[in-house]
């Protein structure tokens, strides 16, 4: 591996002047990663998304499925913080202007006009009750209206008067979790089977390669259609989608499997592998300690591409009636619900979830970029 006395590396003193020469590999990785500014942004964004999805019930001001006939297509509201009073004084107290709904009798279009009343908001106020993580009954929300019967709409409301902000928050939880399970399974399968195929060769290789060819030859769309018909309709939508992503991942591992096999084949006769073997290292150690790390950058790259693909695929699957369907909430579902002329012309705020998809996909890509560079700190 690398030579500690290499002047090129020694010259690159780590952050705050620490000595690269004596830093561990993980420290090197971390320093290298921190230099990648976009990756740092990415990790913060992703961290924030996961934090929000973890505490979705608290962050969301409303029940995301609660319809409200008084708020159909309610436009987004600005939160004001400085409350000017009639006597000219002011105080810091968040509020929004209350809006009244009107429907044009001829065109049936809905418009909202300010009623002149203020709806005051309270940090950690009481609102809808919920069960946090399915365990604790609670009713505290990050920002709740003072009177529980009032509502405010940071991102507006959809055609059923449901609060878009709450829906985006809950959608984050689903979009950032369910699909990723499939990606993880595909990765484990791809590395394990691809690795075994490349490392052992011979009969194992032949069997696994035929398996990959067979899997690739399966026509996916008819299989999904059959699945959609075969899954018991009494299953909750999330469970149905989870099973479908599992099955998609059973098909999706093949590509990674082939790449891993190729790299293992090429690597198994490299000097450092032979040296390790001659040193009497176990197979496990050879594979996980010596061979796999040289693949990390590729694996990370394909993973970080797979995650946004999974987020996007969820929308496409929904179109075939296979992905998540309402009443489930995910970014894909929210976007699909906005896919009509009526939304564009009357409620453009319904496209806000699209911004979240873009941000999440970019953040994952930046993160992947940074991790790939950092995974090989000696490569500079």
């Amino acid at each position: 591996m690398a030579d500690d006395t290499d002047p090129a590396i020694a010259a690159k003193a780590g952050p705050r002047g620490r000595d690269v020469a004596i830093a561990s590999q993980w420290q090197l990785i971390w320093w290298s990663f921190r230099r990648h500014k976009l990756a740092m942004v990415g990790i913060w964004v992703i961290g924030l998304f996961y934090l929000v999805s973890l505490f979705a019930e608290i962050v969301a001001p409303d029940d995301p499925s609660e319809q409200n006939r008084r708020a159909v297509f309610h436009p987004p509201q600005m939160i004001h913080f400085i409350d000017r009073q009639e006597d000219g004084g002011w105080r810091i107290k968040p509020y929004v202007w209350e809006m009244d709904r009107e429907r044009d009798p001829d065109t049936l279009a809905i418009t909202y006009v300010p009623s002149g009343e203020k709806i005051y908001l309270q940090v950690f106020g009481r609102g809808d009750s919920y069960k946090l993580w399915g365990l604790f009954d609670w009713n505290v929300h990050l920002l709740a209206t003072e009177r529980p019967r009032d509502h405010y709409f940071l991102f507006g409301a959809d055609r059923l008067g449901r609060d878009m902000f709450s829906r985006v928050i809950y959608g984050t939880r689903v979009s950032m979790s369910i699909g990723l399970v499939g990606v993880a399974i595909a990765m484990v399968l791809g590395i394990a089977l691809g690795g075994a195929s490349g490392y052992y060769g011979g009969r194992v290789d032949a069997v696994i390669q035929r398996l990959i060819e067979f899997t690739l030859s399966l026509p996916t769309i008819p299989i999904w259609l059959a699945l959609a018909a075969a899954l018991p309709p009494s299953w909750p939508v999330y469970q149905q989608y989870f099973v479908i992503t599992l099955i998609v991942s059973l098909v999706g591992w093949t590509e990674l499997g082939r790449v891993v096999r190729g790299r293992f084949l090429a690597m198994k006769n490299e000097d450092f592998v032979i040296a390790a073997r001659l040193d009497g290292a176990t197979e496990r150690r050879i594979i996980f300690r010596h061979m796999l790390p040289s693949l990390t950058s590729h694996i990370i790259a394909s993973l970080t591409l797979a995650i946004p693909l999974m987020i996007l695929a969820e929308t496409a699957l929904s179109f075939l009636g296979l992905g998540l369907q309402p009443p489930a909430i995910s970014w894909g579902v929210l976007l699909k619900e906005a896919q009509n002329i009526r939304s564009i012309s009357q409620a453009p705020w319904l496209f806000i979830p699209g911004g979240f998809v873009v941000v999440a996909v970019l953040a994952f890509n930046f993160l992947g970029d940074g991790m790939r560079d950092a995974a090989d700190p000696y490569g500079h």
Binding site: T107, P326, I341
Partner: protein, 643 residues
Amino acid sequence: MTMLWRGLRPLTIAGMAAGLMAGPLAAQEYSEAPMLADMVAAGDLPAVTERLPDSPEVIEPLESIGTYGGKLRRVLGGSNDHNSILRIVGPQGLTRWNPDFSEVIPNVAESWEVNDEGSEFTFHLREGMKWSDGTPFTADDIMFFVDDLLHNEEFYPNAPARFVVSGETMTAEKIDDHTVTLKFASPYGTFLTELATPLAQEPVIWAKHYCSQFHPAYNDDVQTMVDETEAVEDWAALFRLKCGEVEAPNRWSNPERPTLDPWVATEDAYTAGATQVVMTRNPYFWQVDTEGNQLPYIDTLEMNVAQDNQAIVLEAIAGNIDMQRRRIDVLANKPVFAENAEKGDYHILDVINSLSNAMAIHFNHTHKDPVMRELIRNKDVRIALSLGIDREEIIDIVYQGQGEPWQIGPRPDNVLYNEQLGRQYTEYDPDRANELLDAAGFDQRDGEGYRLLPNGERFTFDVQYTGIEQPDWGDALEIIAQQWEDIGVDLNISSVERSIYYSRGEANEHDFMVWGAPGGLDPTLSPRDVLAVHPQASWFAIPWTRWYLSGGEQGEEPSESMKKRLELYEAFKAEADQAKAADIFREIHQMAADEFEIIGISLAPNLVGVVKNGLANVPGSIPGSWMYPDPAPTLPQTWYWEK
């Protein structure tokens, strides 16, 4: 004729008089479109007097006499939207609806007589009338349909129900070249009405001189043609491919097929994968206006094929559609259409909904699971479920506030209106609903507050709906799911693709199904929600429909009330006296109201369409119904472009 529609509210188009039997004009007064005049001058076409019947039907246009020329643009939704073409070109049956959907008037038949019993119908055809290729249209064409197709088991393994009475298929007798009598085994009071509906055009859609070449009785070599044609297994399939059938894309795919329609297919026909369909005027069309101008006024129909409904909405607001409501007619689109009307240079068409309910809930009374079946058959449970729905909220959110709480049955302005059938148990009363469910023995609840069934399972309904076509049902179901939570009933909603929807329903694998309830203006033509007669739509009891259609051999024996209703329905069909027939139907409705099998949400609100400014003779408001295949009965052949 006394029709059951007489009670229909006078519509805005009531003033539109259909020109009935005005005296024949002198031959020299007929005139024709410039494009045809050119062809006559070039010797490619006979003169207009020779092309028209001796006494063409004279139509009085709605507003004014038109001028020739121009094209009419519409958009088709995919490659299975044949009925969009049928609805503007097709329904040229022996009879047709007058424009306000109140009466059946002569169409291809010039006049008719009915025998006293009401079982024999003698039709007089127009002398000198011709198919679109110039061959005379005569009684032989109708005889060809009856003798060679209707009674041919290879063509119709089962004769269509509309031509069968008391188990006997209709027969025909040719009196002379222009007179034919259609005969039934017993009285058939609704036959003339039936003939005005889109599916009963068979007697006059197949030209014998052309179609007989695909029939083994006329062509010994037909098997050779079958063998030469791909994907065709027998002569009947070949016949349908070449000559079309009433309700299929192939009716519009063969430009060689002669028709009686105002516009005929061209090389740009409605074939698989077509992106644009063009139809051109029929030079032999048999109607003229009051000044003797041969109809239609408009030269061509141009129909682009779009792949999804949103694309059609876009075309409409861009002003690229001249007259259409199909696939874009939900009220939710109205604000969008209104907003863009000026820019797109069109105005909004008001379509009077013939449906009874925008969304009916068909509980499965023949559920395979005995626990669910017992639950569903308990009328108190159904009442509770109905009382547990806040219809006002659904109407306000999903139907733009334009409906009213409603179950099923004829609309309030129909003569057969039954208040109990329409309005019983539509109030929102969750307390009463909870009482009823407790009293019915579902008083145990689980940890989440849902009721439990006697077998310990949660009181849950699984419901499927076709979300791609009807997103409004999904919205309404989500609201219902929330409202039913308050009465401890769990609703599990899933949107499925339409073919899966049908296969689940036909296999009787549903708890309940959701569909629009027809029969608001046409209760006797679409009785499938009060009578188990439709194997693909009477979702509340599919096995009962099988029992009825198979004469008791298959399916499952219906409830006593339904059996009595089906008997009454047979009596209704045979009743020639319209007043008595209406009374029979009132009795059917009353029994259905007492049984309360299906619940509904909202009286179907009116629909919307767009009409390009400058297109004249289009009514401002038209009835919308499959049985009145709008807009054809308003006579698109009289529409024209104002200069």
